[in-house]
């Protein structure tokens, strides 16, 4: 099993840390992982993206241009990465701020209204974990116990009191994700 994922959105949405928690959880479950961020000027206020690969085998290239799953959190990222999803692959997006919806018919498309939910429930800080929960519902790559360990590893000790809220957000995400389209 190898899952190649791109997570993309605005800087500040928690794109990189979401990828990091997923990668750490993979490590805890003894899988091979790689996490490759966009870096430099892109991170200074613009778009941010990270490629995460989780595999049972040694990972060859951390650099890829086709993805099994794209997790998309803004319009620019949808425009950039919709075409990079493998045929039959999965695209998950938050409709908040999306004016041009995805148009491909050969991929599975899911929506998750994580931004709305996070605002309503005052959970802005864990917006990215809501999205992660939705993703894990569709692709149960890592078991919940290892997600817990991944949170412990990737969050500094002073933030460990936030772990229950993060896990609550992941649970919420599982209930919010909706299938919009099945691949033709």
């Amino acid at each position: 099993m190898t899952e190649e994922i791109i997570i993309a959105g605005f800087g500040g949405q928690g794109v990189l840390s979401m990828g990091k928690i997923l990668a750490y959880s993979g490590v805890m479950e003894n899988k091979e992982v790689s996490w490759m961020p966009s870096y430099g000027p892109e991170m200074r206020g613009g778009t941010a993206n990270v490629t995460v690969i989780i595999s049972d085998e040694r990972i060859s290239s951390p650099v890829i241009t086709k993805y099994d799953t794209a997790i998309i959190l803004n319009q620019q990222s949808l425009d950039k990465f919709e075409s990079a999803v493998q045929p039959g692959g999965t695209l998950i997006y938050d409709p908040n701020g999306i004016t041009h919806k995805p148009t491909r018919k050969d991929i599975n498309i899911y929506t998750i209204e994580a931004n709305d939910a996070a605002n309503k429930m005052g959970m802005n800080k864990v917006f990215n974990m809501i999205v992660l929960g939705g993703f894990l519902k569709i692709k149960p790559l890592v078991q919940p116990e290892f997600i817990h360990k991944g949170l412990e590893k990737s969050l500094p000790a002073r933030h460990h009191n936030m772990i229950p809220e993060n896990e609550k957000a992941i649970e919420l995400g599982r209930t919010l994700i909706k299938q919009e389209q099945k691949a033709e």
Binding site: Y24, V27, V33, S34, M36, Y39, P62, V63, T65
Partner: protein, 358 residues
């Protein structure tokens, strides 16, 4: 229990420096390697091992601090990226001439000039053919994973001290910025003053009455003795060439065609090899681990039994010259590269093999 972490290449390098018993790091920030000094500053190695970490006022200054520390027999290092590495060339030439050990990390970004901050391998010529002035060589190690960013630090110090020669670790933005699993090496103690006096009798540690002054210099105005010194350096370089060339061969046993690639290009090529093999093309990968000395012997041996090579680089054709020198015209040597900070996709490499090599 093994110490398994998930780290960026830059962070793994920094942690490995502390664990290798490094005495001093002197650097100046530049993307994409700034995490090296950030990690060291945050980790406060002065409390763990007594290691000194200092931000110099420029790369010129940091390499000369390395020169001074190395002259005292200390394990010292710096890290930078391409434009900063260019600034260091005078100091590196002096250190090579004075035969001092040290590690320099260059996390290459796209050039020439100030260029981009994205990954590149266009400093190969500078790394392997000189860079600074004069007849000198650096031992050049090319990590292609976060694990190797960690492992090559202690290995680099061992080689540097064995041959009294600077070691350059040539990485790129992909290796520096990507997080992967890494098993960290156990803590090595820093050298004691007694060990330095014993192991490196050339070091300037204060004159004792039983020996002459140790003088660290690269200046010798007498042409005859300067020639003798340069010939001595060459003799050392021949020994390094004979003993230290390293490479990894992947799926070369039955290969009809071989890709040659180092660093992150080698990772991309591994995927390209898998994609090509799935199409029935018998292709392998030779990954130089040392860029100087170049694994010419292995390339030369493969040239007797394969139909052709392709050098794949994030530059516009630098290592390909060393491949051609080793192949000696026996079979064809093609080239594929991207530049300016563009990282080629595995599929692009597949296409290049299909259109140029087969």
């Amino acid at each position: 229990m093994e110490d398994l972490r998930l780290m960026k290449g830059n962070e793994a390098f920094a942690e490995a420096a502390i664990r290798a018993g490094c005495d001093g790091y002197f650097g100046y920030p530049i993307t994409p390697q700034s995490e090296v000094m950030e990690y060291l500053m945050k980790e406060r190695p002065e409390n763990r091992t007594g290691m000194v970490v200092l931000q110099a006022e420029s790369e010129v200054s940091s390499i000369n601090m390395v020169y001074a520390g190395a002259g005292c027999g200390k394990r010292v290092m710096t890290s930078t990226s391409s434009p900063g590495y260019s600034l260091m060339q005078e100091g590196i030439s002096y250190i090579a001439a004075a035969e001092l050990p040290c590690i320099v990390l260059n996390v290459v970004r796209g050039g020439p000039g100030l260029g981009t901050i994205q990954p590149s391998q266009s400093d190969y010529f500078q790394a392997t053919k000189g860079g600074g002035h004069g007849d000198y060589r650096l031992i050049v190690l090319a990590p292609s994973s976060v694990q190797e960013m960690s492992d090559f630090v202690s290995m680099g110090f061992d080689l540097a001290f064995k041959y009294r020669n600077p070691v350059l670790i040539l990485a790129d933005g992909v290796i520096g910025q990507t997080m992967e699993k890494v098993v960290l090496q156990p803590q090595r103690p820093r050298l004691t003053e007694e060990e330095i006096r014993k192991n490196t009798p050339w070091a300037t540690v204060g004159k004792s009455i039983d020996r002459e002054h140790n003088i660290v210099t690269s200046l010798d105005l007498q042409a005859a003795s300067q020639e003798k010194h340069v010939l001595h350096l060459q003799e050392k370089y021949r020994q390094i060439e004979a003993a230290e060339a390293r490479c990894e061969m992947i799926k070369c046993e039955d290969a009809e065609y071989v890709l040659v690639a180092y660093g992150s290009s080698a990772r991309i090529c591994q995927k390209a090899v898998d994609l090509l093999r799935a199409k029935g093309v018998k292709v392998g990968l030779l990954r130089p681990i040392t860029l100087w000395p170049f694994p010419s012997k292995e390339v030369k041996e493969l040239a007797t039994r394969v139909k052709g090579f392709m050098s794949v680089e994030m530059s516009l054709g630098q290592m390909v010259e060393d491949v051609k020198l080793a192949v000696e015209g026996k079979v064809k040597v093609e080239f594929f590269g991207r530049c300016g900070g563009i990282v080629p996709a595995p599929e692009e490499v597949v296409h290049a093999v299909e259109t140029k090599l087969l």
